[in-house]
Amino acid sequence: ETLFHSRDHSDLEPSSPLRQAKPIADIPAAQRFLSRYGWSGAQAAWGPSLGGPPEATPGAALAEAVRRFQQANRLPASGELDAATLAAMNRPRCGVPDTRLPPPAAQTPPPPGLLHRAR
């Protein structure tokens, strides 16, 4: 049997072309997002995705996690799940959790005149 597949192929989702990700539109979904991508939650940021509701993140902790996410995305750090924040959560992204951003000084400034040109 090939390396990845379970014997009964139960790990293969029947391919349904119309599968769309559920929009993140409410607090539980936002909590799942923040926990999945390392912005909050005791659960290891990079652990198996558990189907059930995330550990309930108390209000203050949730607001703090939202604030951190907003700062990283250059949104007003209100701690509120406003429309712009939810939109940022719904953008196409990589599944690897985010890490704490290096302090701005850590970035070596590129030399002047760097242009991005086609290959």
Partner: protein
């Protein structure tokens, strides 16, 4: 599932990838890494050939800026392939992180080198400006497998969110430095290095002189963009492709004789030399007197030995300095003969400023750089800069043609990196 479970346990001294206090961590210690698009996990959206081409290009883009080489391996047992890529939907490939369908999460990378792409996404080839560029996502995920975390720095390929690309994307300065902090800069000796001068007419009819810098190694070369501090995107390229009619590998030397009366360019290899036509961008077949190229060095440059280590043209003196072993030969291009007092020891003509800090013999390349108005001697990973007029004005005690102490080539010319032979002529 067992396979992924054991990957979640942080290795000795390692944070699981993406953990909140993670940062960039080197993931591999060897230099050549193998990869494979897993056979039972092809995407249903692109041809398999296209998927493999895109992944080959993605690996090549990292290889162009790191000492790492990547080789597609279709035969070794799966367990020994360093990086495995595959597509899946929802619950996929035994992976504990279920994909969410079209939108939001489009791919993820595991610490030990597995990369999964959500086949519910609309992945597209580099030529398309629709959907999600598979190339861009692959370069991002490979960045993770190599040890790079997310960053929100604008322009970085490691941003967590997908940024639709306006133009063909490349790895920018900071991403290059980030990966080089993990794997080091690219080292290696060159067969020859030179600036190619060409006259161009501006739209206003003025004649301007421009130059491009080239580095040659074995059968490939790079164009170096001095104003961008890096090699041209997509280099190295095979010599065979970029230079018509000269030997396709292991060039010994290049010389551009540029005086009021002459503007000729010669490539040297073994005991022969070729003249190159800048206008036609190909080697001449014969000279103005009908003598065919390649010609013998001993005929065109009486008294000059071969094979050569390297050579450069000194414009003010109108001399070509030819180097072989520990000797240097000064050739007068107007009288077409060696200066009588030559050959001499290289250490005599180009003395070390710091005792014993000198290449002594077998110089790989003597390169006059218009960007730096200086001659540089390359040998192995190091260069020695020859004292020029400006140096003399600042410090009159410096010996003429003295050599400053050696430095590392990779600290002055960046990202001159090899790629695996299998991706050389992509």
């Amino acid at each position: 599932p067992k396979r992924f479970l054991q990957m979640l346990l942080p290795g000795p001294g390692r944070q699981p990838e993406g953990s909140l206090d993670g940062g960039a961590t080197r993931a591999f210690s060897k230099r050549v890494l193998t990869w494979r698009l897993v056979g039972e996990a092809f995407s249903s959206q692109l041809s398999v050939a296209e998927q493999r081409y895109i992944f080959r290009l993605a690996f090549r883009m990292w290889s162009e800026v790191t000492p790492l080489d990547f080789q597609e391996d279709l035969t070794a047992p799966g367990a020994v392939v360093d990086i495995k890529l595959g597509f899946g939907r929802g619950r996929h490939l035994g992976c504990p992180r279920v994909f969410d369908g079209g939108g939001q999460e489009f791919a993820h990378a595991w610490r030990l080198g597995d990369i999964h792409f959500d086949d519910d996404e609309h992945f597209t080839p580099p030529s398309s400006d629709m959907g999600i560029s598979l190339l861009k996502v692959a370069v991002h995920e490979i960045g993770h497998v190599l040890g790079l975390p997310h960053t929100y720095r604008t322009g970085s390929i490691m941003q967590p969110n997908y940024a639709p690309q306006e133009t063909a994307f490349e790895l920018d300065w900071s991403d290059r430095k980030a990966i080089q902090r993990l794997y080091g800069s690219c080292e290696g000796s060159f067969d020859t290095a030179f600036d190619w001068i060409r006259k161009e007419r501006t739209p206003y009819g003025e004649v301007v002189v421009r130059f491009s810098t080239y580095f040659f190694r074995k059968s490939w070369y790079w164009l170096y963009e001095n104003r961008h501090n890096r090699t041209r995107y997509g280099d190295p390229i095979q010599i065979l492709i970029g230079w018509r009619g000269i030997p396709t590998q292991n060039i010994d030397a290049f010389v551009h004789i540029w005086t009021w009366k002459r503007d000729v360019r010669y490539f040297f290899k073994g005991n022969q030399y070729w003249s190159y036509d800048s206008e036609e961008d190909q080697a001449h077949t014969a000279d103005e007197r009908g003598r065919r190229y390649p010609r013998l060095i001993s005929e065109g440059f009486p008294g000059v030995p071969s094979p050569l280590d390297t050579a450069f043209f000194e414009r003010r003196q109108q001399l070509i300095y030819f180097f072989q072993e520990s000797l240097v030969f000064a050739f007068d291009v107007n009288r077409n003969r060696l200066l009588s007092s030559y050959p001499k020891k290289i250490t005599k003509v180009f003395p070390a400023i710091v005792p014993q800090n000198h290449p002594f013999r077998n110089i790989d390349s003597a390169y006059y750089s218009y960007a730096h108005n200086s001659v540089f001697f390359f040998k192995g990973n190091a260069y020695w800069k020859v004292v020029n007029d400006k140096d003399k004005q600042r410090n009159s005690w410096l010996p003429s043609n003295g050599l400053f102490p050696k430095k590392s080539i990779s600290e002055k010319w960046f990202d001159v990196c090899d790629v695996h032979m299998s991706t050389l002529n992509m």
